[in-house]
Structures are given as C-alpha cells and as structure tokens.
C-alpha cells in the first residue's frame, strides 16, 4: 500500500484523492470468502436460535462461541504464532460488520475477540500471549473485560478495586467489584483493572474465573441484548500471580483507553451489519404488507424512510473502511520500524482517535435511526416481539452507551482533533485565522461548468472552512478552556462528524465510478447525504456562533457560513424514490 494516508483529524485541513482511499467494493476474493463464512455461520448457528439466545442461556451462548472458534472465527485478529490467522484491520472490520447483524451473539463475539482478548495480545508478555491468547484464539478459553465499577463508569480511573502485593512478592491480592461485565457468566479469563496499593493510576491483570475468591453474579435484566451475559463480578482476596500483570504497573489506564479506541472502531463496523439487516427486514415487510389495496412499499412516505435509512448506512459504511485502510497503513509502518506487533496493532488504531469517536457516535445514532424507522415501517407488527425489528430496536440502544458514551465521545472528537493540531500534527489554527482575517472576501468558489465530482469536492472544502471558522471563534472566545463549553463543543463535533461521513461518501462514489462506470443511484445517495450535511453544518455553526459571539460578530461569521454551506438544490423526493425503488426491486440491501 502506498503511504498516502492522513493523520488522525487531518481531514479537517487536507483533502485526499479518491484513488487513495479504500472502498468496500474493493475487497478481494479471500476477504469476501471470510465474510461469507461468517454469514454462513450466523445463518446456521445464530439466526435460527435468536429466541433461545435471548432467554439468556449461558451454556448456549458459550456453545455457539466455541463453534465459531472451531471455524477459526475467534482467531481472525490474532497473529498466526498464537493460533490465529493474522488478518488485516480491514478484514477485521469486514468481519465485525457481518457479525454485527447477530444481535446478542454479536456482543458476546465482539467482547471475546476484542476487549476480552486483545489487551493481552497488544500489551501482554510473550509468555502471557502463549498461555492465554493462543487459547482465546481457538475458543478453548472465553474472555471478558472488567473495567466498570459501581462508582466508576465514564470516569474509569476512579475505580476502587485494589491489588495489594503479597508479603512474599509472588501475588497481588485483588479486592473489589466490577459491573456490566459482558460474557461475565461464562468467561474463563478476565482482563481486570485495579489500582496497586495506593496508586492513582490503574494497572491491568489477567485473572482466571475459577480462582478462589471470585464470585460471579446473576445476569442483569436488560432492555436489549438479552442473550448477552452481563454480570457483576466480586473479588475477595483473589491471589493473582505477579506474572499476570499486563504491561507495567500503572499502565492499565492507558491500556483501558487504547482498547476502547479499538472497541469504538469495531462498534462502528458492527452497526453497519445490523443496519443492513434491519433495512432488508423492513423492505421485505413493506413489499408484502398491503394497505388501501396496495403494497405499502409503493407509498412515497415509506420510500422516503427506506431511502434515508440506506443513505445513512451507505455513508457510514464508506467511512468505516476508509479509516480501516489508514489504520492498516500505520500498523505496517510501525511494524517496519521494528515495533512489537502487538503495540504496532493497538497504536495504529489508537492514533485515529478522532475517527474512532466519529464512527462510534455517528454509527450508533445511524443504527438507532434505522431501527426506529424499521419499527415504524412495520407498524403495529414492529411493536410485536415476533419480529426481529423489535429485537433490533431494543438491542441497538446500548451502542450509544457502551464503549464510552456518545456524550464523552462527542467531546473526544473535538478534543482529539484540536489537541493534535496544537501538537503540530497539522495546522488547523493558522488557516483558520487566515480565513477569519479575510472573512469578508470568502466566496463559495463556484466555477462555471464544474464536473459533478469537482462540485462535490468544492462543497467539502467549503464545509471544512465553515468548521475552521467556527472552531476559531470558539477558541478565540474561550481560549484553551473552550472544551468546558460542552454545548458548543457538541456543535463542533456534529459538524466534524458530518463532514467526515460526507467526504468519505464522495470519495467512495467517485472511486467507484472510476472502477465500474457511472452509477446514478450512488450519486442519488450522495446528493441526498451531502444536502443534509450542508444543513447540519449550517445549523450547528449557527447554534455555536450565536452562543459565543456578540450580534455584530455573529452576523459577520454567519454571512461566511451561509456562503460556505450554500449548495445547489437537490430534488430529494425523486432521488429518494429512485434509491427506494432499487431497494424495493432488490428486496434486500444491495448498494
């Protein structure tokens, strides 16, 4: 791969050519086969058992996970020397997308393969990897991740679980309580975070579930993902051998945060699989359900819903695979520089902190939109527990809460982007100041006879300028403490997220046209999405600017924002009808 990727957040100030991004239409034969095996497995072992799974039978979930292990699906992320298959991050994200359509199974699978296994793979010693990772890769062991405590949720470092070094120096004596532990009811190994003695920062440990002093609570009764075992775990004088500390003492908080970066990326892919499934379920229902003597899929109001579901899903899918290639390139670079493969893996992911927070927030809200409209299209039947769309609606909701709440992640989008700019990764404030100083001469840079994609690229440049101006005025007003004005930060975050999605979709459709020729439906999707993007950026800029600037200043800024978000009108009705008609004709999501 040519090293042309951008640094995290750099998309705010720099453009990338379509030829340099990865699009999902480029997956090779082997990657498609891996995805198909995951689909075949889900169809054989998961989807026929959804009702049984949701009854919370721990043994059933354990058995299904073990079967996926027999096929090698639990080892996709793990290098070959530890019984895995060493697949690229792109392939991992493709698998995460497919598994994402598996409701509670998806949560159990992703927990095991991700947060249950990867802290040991990324940060563990060679001995720890051989002893644990090589068995987690096959499903001989099943893993869990224990960070959250009753008093420590988003503020993870405030946990009280303590690890005291024993007098003989051979063990840490673990005491405390963890909660919301996915796979808690059947896990064999746990990655547990605790503070050693009176440390202020967490350390991480590998704990085996059958050690003395561990009590695993009953499964929580939850709104959704009912088949996923979620428990509290209590530690009473549990003797953890000193060699089971992961990394160094006090390194746990960094491990925990970096692992969450991985979790957010993967969640961003999971929601695409779930959304595609819901869209397919919804169009199939609409193609069968008749009212007023006609199929409801012929009604404009239903077509509009179906089209908007597709548009959001498509844009998000474009973003997840765009960043996945960036991650792969960076991991390869780190490896070529001699970095340990585990550290190269996690640091390649964690670098893209702006993008992973975007994927997490935007993706989880995209899925909530899709399942909500899915229920609506099903009407009364959508409220019946007989339909998968009802399960999908309940299961979706957790995505906005776990892996860092969307509130935390919205702040992180802006914090990570501005911090990296301040650190010198790219110049955000220089061009922003220049724009501000020449605000009266800002135009929308329209030129005669622009091509379709030239126009879209110009819109993206203008949106970037609108974001820079808003960021600049926020930082001018509040200085370094602007992150405390969380409402304004949320506006900035929404603008940045929408831009990243829109730009990813533009680049995907442009590249696809180069490969497969003109595709009017993809352009319809793009037109509808970019049209919405202009409004989202305008609206959030306006909210932010009037919250931070005095009226004269605000009007000056808004004059520029209006120019920069002024885009050609789109016949949204006809575009949505064409998108929906393709979906209705295919009777499944095939975009």
């Amino acid at each position: 791969m040519e090293n042309v990727n951008l640094k995290s957040g750099e998309f705010l100030v720099k453009d990338v050519e379509a030829k340099n991004i990865f699009i999902p239409e480029e997956f090779n034969e082997e990657q498609k086969m891996i995805a198909q095996s995951c689909r075949d497995f889900m169809e054989a072992e998961v989807l026929p058992k959804l009702d049984e799974i949701d009854k919370g039978d721990r043994q059933l979930m354990k058995d299904i996970l073990k079967k996926s292990g027999e096929l090698g699906l639990l080892g996709i992320t793990i290098p070959e020397e530890y019984n895995g298959f060493g697949q690229s991050f792109l392939t991992q994200m493709l698998v995460a997308e497919v598994i994402g359509a598996g409701y509670s199974f998806s949560v159990a699978f992703m927990c095991h393969c991700g947060i249950g296994t990867m802290p040991i793979m990324y940060y563990g010693s060679e001995e720890q990897r051989k002893k644990y990772v090589s068995k987690l890769a096959t499903g001989e062991l099943l893993g869990a991740y224990c960070l959250t405590e009753p008093g420590a949720g988003s503020d993870a470092n405030s946990g009280k679980t303590n690890a005291k070094l024993s007098e003989d120096g051979k063990h840490y004596i673990l005491n405390g309580q963890k909660m919301w532990i996915t796979n808690g009811g059947f896990c064999d190994t746990q990655v547990v975070f605790a503070k050693v003695d009176n440390d202020r920062i967490l350390s991480a440990f590998i704990v085996e579930s059958d050690w003395d002093g561990i009590v695993i609570g009953p499964d929580e009764h939850k709104m959704g993902i009912k088949g996923s075992s979620t428990t509290q775990i209590y530690y009473n004088d549990v003797k953890v051998p000193v060699e089971n500390m992961i990394g160094k003492r006090g390194e746990g908080f960094r491990i925990a945060l970096n692992i969450l970066h991985m979790g957010r990326m993967k969640l961003g892919a999971n929601v695409v699989g779930a959304a595609k499934q819901t869209i397919t379920d919804s169009v199939r229902y609409a193609n069968e359900r008749k009212q007023f003597g006609t199929l409801i899929s012929t009604f404009g109001a239903i077509k509009q819903k179906l089209a908007k579901m597709v548009v959001k899903c498509y844009a998000h899918e474009s973003a997840i695979f765009r960043v996945s290639q960036d991650v792969d390139i960076l991991i390869d670079k780190y490896k070529s520089e001699g970095k340990d493969q585990g550290l190269a893996g996690i640091e390649g992911i964690a670098h893209y902190a702006v993008e992973d927070a975007i994927l997490k927030v935007w993706g989880s809200e995209m899925l909530d939109f899709v399942v909500d409209e899915g229920v609506q299209i099903h009407g009364g039947m959508g409220y019946s527990a007989e339909m998968n769309v009802e399960r999908g609606y309940r299961d979706s909701r957790i995505n906005r809460i776990f892996e860092g709440t969307n509130e935390i992640n919205r702040l992180l989008v802006v914090e990570a982007a501005t911090k990296r700019a301040m650190k010198g990764d790219y110049d955000l404030f220089g061009p922003a100041e220049e724009l501000y100083n020449n605000i009266s001469s800002i135009t929308n840079d329209e030129v005669p006879d622009e091509s379709y994609f030239d126009k879209k690229r110009r819109y993206m440049k203008n949106f970037k300028k609108a974001i820079m101006l808003t960021v600049y005025s926020a930082t001018q007003k509040f200085g370094r403490k602007f992150m405390r004005e969380q409402e304004v930060v949320n506006n900035l975050s929404d603008m940045i997220m929408e831009l990243y999605l829109a730009e990813s979709a533009v680049l995907r459709v442009e590249k696809l046209e180069g490969i497969k020729g003109d595709n009017p439906i993809n352009k319809d999707i793009l037109d509808v999405f970019v049209n919405d993007t202009a409004y989202v950026i305008f609206k959030n800029a306006k909210d932010a600017i009037y919250s931070i600037a005095e009226s004269e200043e605000a009007e000056k800024l808004m004059g520029a924002i209006k120019t920069l978000t002024d885009i050609e009108g789109v016949n949204v009705m006809n575009a949505c009808r064409r998108i929906a008609d393709k979906l209705i004709d295919d009777n499944e999501y095939k975009f």
Binding site: E29, E30, K32, M33, I34, Q36, S37, D40, F41, A44, E70, L71, G72, L73, G75, I76, F85, D585, D586, N587, E588, K590
Partner: protein, 249 residues
C-alpha cells in the same frame, strides 16, 4: 480411491432472475454466484468419506466446466476442503456439452467415484450426471440419498416410493445425489480459506463438442395474480367470480 465432485456455478438462490437481449440471455449483473446446492451436498459427503480413514478415500477433486469467472466459487470448494480442482475452460452452453467436457476430465485423471448433484438450481436440467456416465460407459445411479464405503465396496441408498433401495455398484461409477446424502453443507473454516490459497486449480482446454440445443427465449414466470377477497355473506359473488373470471366451474 479418488472422488471427483462436479460442481456448477449458479446464482445465489435469492437472486432476482432477469433476462436481457430480448429475453435470450440471463442478466448476470450484480449476481452473487455460489456452488450449486446439490453439488455442495455431494462435496460435503465426499469430504466426510475422506475424513473417515476406513473408506480408503484418498482425495477429493472438484471439476467444473466454465470460464475463470467461476474461480471464486471453485476456490470456495477448495476452502471447504477439496484437495484440488480442474476447470475446463469454456463457457457452458448445455448439459450435453458440459457432460462431454467432464467425461474428458475423468478420462485424463481417472477417478473411482464421480458425484454430481441431481440438478442445478439455475437451469434444472438433471441430465449432466447420467450423460457423463454414458460418455464414459460407467454405471450410473440416480437419486442417491446415501453413499457409504463398507469394506472397500460402495453402498448406495436410493429414495424410492414408500421406502429405500440399497444398491451395490462397482467403481468406477457416477452417482447423482440428492438431498439426504449429507445433512448440511460445510462452512469454510479460516484454516480452509488460508489453505485454499495454495491449492491448485488446473485448467484444461475443452474438446470440440457439437452444440445440440439452442435457447430460443426465456420466459419469466407470470406475476402472481391479485388475491380477491369475497365477504362470507356473499356466496353469489364467489360463484360468479369462479364462473366468469377464473372459469373453473
């Protein structure tokens, strides 16, 4: 003992079938291609026999008549567990042509058991297997729902009206298999997918075969007629519709 499993490359069973060129050609745009489901069952049974050391089955080869566009489907058969593959490089036109090419594959490589699915899920010809046997002058057993090898001898179960028929047949032979020969198709494992990278797909050039049939036109099925509901207190309306619309009474 060597087994050849003949596989067809067919549109996924959920594909919406469309035609082009004035309904003379199948429109393959956007089609997902898969191993013909009956052939996949044949492959599964062949691999089960190979897994059981007592059967003496040493290798399972897949044979296909088609262009390189079918290689992903062949590669999947290799990922599921076939040892190697032979593809005869010609666009398939009809069952006679396909059977003639497959017979050449058998002549070139010598197999003991040749398995074909009872039909392909696209054109449903149900004739390739028996034609292959005819070209080779091998015995052929149809509608096979069970295949075992006991003490080195093939034992075949056929579904017949009201029961089963057990048949012994000397190798080499052709078995045309149907549902029941294996329970569920195998899922390609990660290890299988990785190993498939290095397994050979041997390409054979076709022999000249007369074209015996030509497609004149395809006719898509008529859309389902509208369902008419008649109120229960209106039998006269029902009778009128049955007489004048449906014309069945």
């Amino acid at each position: 003992m060597k087994i050849l499993v003949c596989i067809s490359n067919v549109p996924d069973t959920t594909t919406k079938i469309k035609f082009t060129d004035n309904n003379t050609k199948f429109d393959s745009t956007g089609v997902q291609w898969v191993i013909n489901p009956w052939d996949e069952l044949a492959l599964t049974r062949a691999l089960e026999l190979k897994d059981d050391a007592s059967t003496g089955v040493k290798s399972v080869t897949v044979g296909h008549v088609g262009t390189a566009s079918a290689d992903p489907t062949i590669r999947k058969a290799l990922a599921i567990g076939a040892d190697d593959a032979i593809r005869v490089n010609i666009e398939p036109t009809d069952a006679y042509q396909v059977a003639a090419q497959l017979a050449e594959v058998v002549k070139a490589e010598q197999f003991d058991i040749i398995l074909c699915g009872i039909e392909s899920s696209d054109f449903n010809g149900s004739t390739v297997g028996s034609m292959v046997a005819e070209f080779l002058d091998y015995p052929s057993v149809s509608a096979v729902s069970g295949l075992n090898i006991e003490d080195g001898e093939p034992v075949i179960t056929r579904e017949i009206d009201g029961g089963k028929e057990i048949v012994n047949v000397p190798a080499p032979f052709v078995a045309v298999v149907q549902k029941g020969v294996a329970l569920e198709p195998r899922i390609a494992s990660m290890r299988g997918i990785m190993q498939a990278r290095t397994k050979a797909i041997k390409v054979m050039e076709p022999v000249d075969v007369d074209v015996l049939t030509e497609v004149v036109t395809f006719e898509p099925p008529q859309p389902k007629p509208e369902c008419v509901f008649v109120e229960e207190d209106n039998p006269e309306k029902l009778i009128e519709l049955l007489q004048n619309e449906a014309k069945v009474i």
